[in-house]
Symmetry: C2
Subunit: 287 residues, 2 copies
């Protein structure tokens, strides 16, 4: 139980550059890479993904990353309704499913229990607000909401008089997906987010084993963690230098997550999964 | 320096099932997945990849996995010579480069130093044995070798009288790639490989944080580690059950590497990268 409480109180976020997929030849390869990012975030319960501005014009790539990550995070039954056909979604068929608790499957209305949560889309039928939650009928909504908005609902009455209300997803004791947010340049993002613990991943940082005990202690004291990753071309050190800063200006946790690596570089999407596996261990280590 | 010595003495191997890519729709997706496996192995200096037999006929998938992993491991300049055009290599263009120390780039012959190592292919020119090492000319070989074999060489004389000899790659103090081996079923493979430390990754195992200190101690005593991964459909427990065994018959290190995971499943290629990041930390932690 203690483990659970730690996790519920902890907001884990990552910062990735909008140049993340700039070196991939085509949309198909970009889609594969973003798919890996979405999966890594869901496995390790990341709550916010900030896409910060790298130096250069990556607006188009930003749109692709954001659309694909949001598409992945949306339950299957809402995807067609929330995402009109767009060029950047051409290869969504190859995206791996997240299979998170908030991606519910179809089940008979009679099996719905009061208190269950579900993601839905608000619709209006003859002036009555209803929610499309991927079941065989729409669910009448108690309360108000904007038509067309995506909401998290809780069932307040069971079959055959199913009703629901909108809730804040923070009250749910399960992983309920991530949010994708546009960030400014990295140095500004850090100042806006103000995490309790800010971690920079860098091949030139201190080896993870040397900082481990301190990291575990610091995580225990933290309610929010932000982990920043570099771009395919440049590390965080170079990225911050462009903005007139050094990594040390923001944190003492500048960590080489993969000491003794066998390859010249570790790609951002690889670093993400490996780093989150390590941070997850630090989070659950009770020391 | 101590860290380096530990790593040189340690043989890290993994066991993956031949059913690894059985759920992927087409060769292109299979290629992407194998690419992720090859990269994860190279980042964390895996020396042997065993592909064990899962229950079912995965011979074709085995051929694809083996060919792609070996293709990735081969320096770029030898690929066309060692790999004739094969159907399973159709999408190698999308494989990420390993960028390991043994994938050397072209450089002028005059810059080659005595003692340097390089991968090469033995060729015969007018009854003289030479080695193609991806430079602007073939290098005369001291000693004997089979024509057409891939070898590791060391330069014994410098430009303009370059000469080389064949060496065993175990003498090289850098990561020099992995070997791919066909294994029998998993229970038999364990008995053949006989690692000092055998680790089973399983969602139903003990949480990594609970076994961490013991794992770090055990790794320190071990000269060889084998880590086994399940298939897309079934975990190691079910796979061993088919063979009349339980995980506990082989090791007490049956580990859930991702406690508190946010997704219903972690794919084998994801588990591989995350697990190797954790084991790497355990290896370099001097406790």
């Amino acid at each position: 139980m203690e483990e659970l409480i730690i996790l519920m109180n902890l907001e884990l976020s990552i910062a990735i550059p909008d140049s993340l997929i700039s070196e991939d030849k085509d949309l198909r390869e970009k889609t594969v890479k973003v798919g890996m990012v979405g999966r890594a975030c869901a496995i390790f319960k990341v709550q916010k993904i900030y896409i910060y501005k790298d130096h250069g014009d990556y607006e188009r790539d930003f749109q692709i990353i954001k659309s694909l990550l949001e598409y992945m995070e949306t339950p299957q039954y809402l995807r067609k309704k929330l995402f009109p056909k767009k060029e950047e979604l051409k290869f969504v068929g190859i995206l791996p499913p997240l299979r998170t608790p908030h991606h519910k499957l179809l089940k008979p209305l009679s099996q719905i229990k009061v208190g269950e949560f579900r993601e839905g889309l608000v619709v209006k039928v003859k002036e009555r607000l209803m929610v499309d939650v991927g079941l065989s009928s729409l669910i009448p909504l108690n309360g108000s909401a904007n038509e067309g908005s995506r909401v998290t609902i809780r069932f307040t009455q069971s079959y055959p008089n199913l009703k629901c209300e909108i809730v804040d997803k923070s009250i749910i004791n399960e992983y309920w997906g991530y949010e994708v947010k546009r960030g400014p340049v990295l140095s500004k993002l850090i100042k806006i987010v103000k995490p309790n613990l800010f971690i920079i991943t860098s091949r030139w940082g201190k080896n993870i084993n040397e900082l481990w005990d301190e990291l575990v202690r610091e995580i225990k004291k933290s309610k929010s963690i932000l982990i920043a990753f570099g771009s395919p071309k440049r590390g965080i050190k170079e990225i911050l230098a462009d903005e007139g800063f050094k990594p040390e200006d923001f944190t003492r946790f500048i960590i080489n997550m993969f000491p003794n690596q066998g390859t010249e570089t570790v790609r951002t999407e690889e670093a993400l999964l490996g780093t989150l596996a390590l941070i997850n261990l630090a989070i659950i280590s009770n020391r």
